[in-house]
């Protein structure tokens, strides 16, 4: 599938969303829509596997032929004809694709029920979701659809109201998808596209779960480069990558895209919002990440809810090769008294209640491998705020953990217009300076959001420039600079980029001798003109103009 079709699919889906969502809250609609897309993906994947499994026994007939037998899917026809083999077949499927879907829960059947406005649609769907949650993936996907309330009043007052409403939605989606192939990348990308669109449309309150693709590209490029010698290029393999505020998981998927399908040992993510957490899990699967290749945990990062991260035995303490994060900006938090002794914070201090930015940073940093690299997006304030944050920053700098500071333009995010920066941290870094990149002024002005150019379609390559500057630690006037620690100490550990990189346009240099010549020339012209003028005045008998001394 090419880019063109990709876009087309995204647009088709978005149009469906646009026409149908008026009737319900945008957030709710997002959840329904994405869940259906996910079900369709699971179904297709499952049917393809079933076909392989059953070989020539698979009754692969067109729908009209099937319908004559009373079945809506080939699998249903097979189930009806081979009841005694079902158990063995499902066992095989569980082993091979890790989940089972009953024929009546397959997307094809659901879509058929929707097309025929069957009254059983809602019940069937409900059972299907429940079955997938409880019986599939050895229960690893408990609660995956928990936020999809098919009995919600939002859909309609009575069962039949709800049934027909969802029927309409599913019919549209089924039609929209019919022309598109169902390979993993296509659906995954369409899913990603929709998540982005929903994030853009959902306003400040809910836009935070999504990192704009371009910013995500920068982070993932940085953490996939060799951490000690970025100039040597991309790493061959990452044993593990963590995003401790993973939202819909797009940042993790971006890192994976860069590393290739087998480039990462295991993907770890944590997310506090349950709906978003489910979204992230679906997103992983839709991008072809196997359920054994990732682990997403639902819990509060600042409280450190995740059991595996609270391993007390230092020898078993988990650590990660690469850490990326775009945590909620300036989140208010309430560190309890015990927090001060928490292993993550005790060497640095607690972030203030008014902004948890540094708490997130320290959380991630604690789990960074000695040779790993972490890239995190935070508001500019972390570079210069005083008080407790100044102390944390100072300690990080003194210990040589801050490798690079990248200032980004304002208005890149949906949730806020505040300018943000990327901090690159390492436990051990070679250079004893800090690289500052002032990328704040290079962007494409957008109507509501600003964009970073990626070099395609004639845009300037803002993204590539940032990555290259980091990779080769390049210096460039008014753009990037390697600043020695002595200088940073002089500035009182204030990292405000403007202290180190002047963005003021330099005054044009004045060529003194040229200016002198020019002035001499003007003076000569004046005198010539005056002399000429005085000649007329003299003829008229009028007083003369004074001549400048020359």
């Amino acid at each position: 599938m090419n880019d063109q079709m990709q876009k087309q699919l995204g647009k088709t889906l978005w149009n469906i969303a646009d026409t149908l969502r008026g009737a319900m809250n945008a957030d709710d609609f997002r959840d329904y829509m994405l869940s259906f897309l996910f079900l369709r993906y699971l179904s297709d994947n499952y049917e393809a596997a079933a076909k392989r499994e059953l070989g020539s026994d698979y009754p692969d007939f067109p729908l009209d032929v099937l319908l004559q037998t009373g079945a809506t899917t080939p699998l249903q026809a097979w189930y009806e004809e081979n009841p005694e083999d079902i158990a063995e077949f499902e066992k095989q499927m569980r082993r091979k694709v890790h989940y089972v879907i009953k024929p009546e829960h397959l997307w094809a059947n659901i879509a058929h029920l929707a097309r025929t406005q069957n009254g059983e649609l809602l019940n069937t769907l409900q059972k299907g979701f429940k079955y997938i949650e409880e019986e599939s993936f050895q229960s690893a996907f408990g609660g995956l659809f928990s936020e999809i309330n098919l009995a919600s009043e939002k859909l309609g007052r009575s069962y039949s109201d709800r049934n027909s409403k969802l029927g309409a939605v599913i019919k549209e989606i089924a039609n929209g998808l019919a022309d598109f192939s169902s390979d993993v990348d296509t659906l995954g990308d369409a899913y990603e596209y929709l998540i982005g669109q929903f994030a853009a449309g959902s306003g400040k309150k809910a836009g935070e779960f999504y990192t704009p693709q371009q910013v995500s590209d920068i982070l993932s490029a940085i953490v996939t480069l060799d951490s000690q010698e970025p100039a040597t290029g991309k790493k061959e393999h990452l044993a593990s990558v963590l995003d401790f505020a993973c939202g819909s998981g797009s940042l993790l998927l971006n890192v994976r895209k860069r590393m290739g399908p087998h480039g990462i040992g295991k993907i770890y993510g944590q997310e506090k919002n349950i709906t978003t957490y489910n979204l992230a899990r679906m997103n992983m699967l839709l991008h072809g990440v196997k359920d054994t290749e990732f682990e997403i945990y639902h819990g509060d990062t600042l409280n450190n809810d995740w059991d595996i991260l609270r391993e007390l035995n230092p020898a078993k303490k988990p650590s990660f090769d690469a850490i990326v994060a775009n945590p909620p900006f300036s989140l208010r938090w309430t560190p309890g008294e015990a927090m001060g002794d928490d292993v993550r914070f005790k060497n640095y201090g607690l972030a203030p209640k008014s902004a948890a930015d540094f708490a997130f940073l320290l959380h991630g940093f604690h789990y960074l491998k000695d040779e790993g690299v972490m890239a995190i997006i935070l508001p500019h304030g972390v570079l210069f705020r005083g008080g407790a944050e100044e102390r944390i920053r100072t300690k990080l700098l003194k210990d040589g953990h801050i490798d690079t500071v990248i200032g980004l333009p304002a208005n890149l995010f949906y949730s806020t217009g505040i300018p943000v920066c990327i901090l690159v941290l390492k436990k051990c870094k070679k250079p004893d300076d800090v690289l500052f990149i002032n990328a704040a002024e290079l962007f494409i002005k957008g109507k509501r959001q600003n964009q970073l150019g990626d070099g395609s379609n004639g845009t300037p390559d803002h993204i590539g420039k940032i990555i290259e500057t980091y990779q080769f630690r390049k210096e460039e006037d008014r753009y990037s600079k390697r600043v020695r620690m002595e200088r940073i100490v002089e500035e009182g550990y204030n990292l405000n980029i403007s202290r180190y990189i002047s963005t003021a346009e330099p005054e044009p240099e004045i060529d003194l001798s040229a200016t002198h010549e020019e002035l001499m020339k003007l003076d000569k012209q004046t005198r010539e003109a005056t002399t000429k003028h005085n000649a007329f005045l003299k003829e008229l008998g009028l007083p003369l103009l004074p001549l400048s001394e020359g």
Binding site: S330, P352, A355, P379, A410, T416, I418, K447
Partner: protein, 409 residues
Amino acid sequence: MRGIRTYTGLGKLVARLRDDLNTADLVLLYAYNRTGKTRLSMEFKDAGKRKHKMKNPTGTPDTLYFNAFTEDLFVWENDLEGDSVRRLQLNEKSSFFNAMTELALDETIARYLFRYADFEFDFTYKEVQQDKDTISKPDFVSFRKGGEANIKVSRGEQNIFIWCVFMAICERMLDGHESYQGKKYLYIDDPISSLDDNNAISVACDLAKLLRRAATRKDANGASAPIKVILSSHHALFFNVMCNEVGRRADGEPKITHKRYFLHRPNGDGAYTLQATEDTPFFHHVATLAELLRAADPAKGKLYTFHFNALRSVMEKTASFFGHSSIAFCLKALDNDEDRALFNRALNLLSHGAYAIHEPTEMGEDNKELFRRILRDFVTRFEFSLPGAVSAPSAAPAYTPVPQEVPAQ
């Protein structure tokens, strides 16, 4: 303080209020328009800026002061030429916005705004040179709704938006954010002009919650570090809800001490009088009842779930007036058992959780009926004498706060 005290000038009045705040967490001032509230608030603020050998050698202002209008925090830029890019310009000189420079407050603001209004906002920042640094300061804010960008919002919407900005900033100030270090007082001058009454109530509830936090604030070392608050208003309903909200002690929450005054300027000679309005304030319940009756009017009124709370609060006061400790006393007086049980349940259901109060949700028809029945019974049974303006609700537009015309007791 008992009786009426007279102060010959604003300075003396400020001294009195500052003195009060040494012992109380909060002072609530009620005054009619044109009494001099705003000048009083400026005087209070200035008093905190004066250099003092011992108390304030550097002259650092000790008060965070909120009045959207006197400092012109926001000014409309209507783009009269192009008539399309309408926006609200921020007064960059005001130190009020310092936190916005350093923190991403958008989501906090949005969280508040979502309860009252349904438009979106976008802040645009600009780079400003400040000492050695260039920093991003908020420049202006534009609004959008649906697909429409750069819309102009109504005066009421603008006010509620500004209020939400204030709440967001205030939260961080209470958290001890760097930008507001050294502030000891919060002066909120007439926060709600031109808000409808349901917003007035939910604003008051939000604010009361914040004030409770101000009073019990602790510094980074866990020591008590309260922010003392003065709140002045001419809006009787708002004032009343504030009194009730801060007076009530919610489960597990510490009590906050407060003083309530009626501020008056008896004649033009610059003297002010303060009259304490203690626990039987100058007719708050009556004002509330009047308000509730109006809301309950099937033809003109609109009943929101928070009205149950307001009714309960009046019942509580009534019960305590008769020497009883709970509203069971009032409920017992109602006609039938079934209503009593229903009312109890309605109260529990509808007043639980913050959202019931903050999101002005209209009552369902059945609840409205129940509410009207109980209110009618209650008013009849206890023979409340309501001010004249109330008995003819049809004459007064639902919007005008009734009590404005009534002189202080």
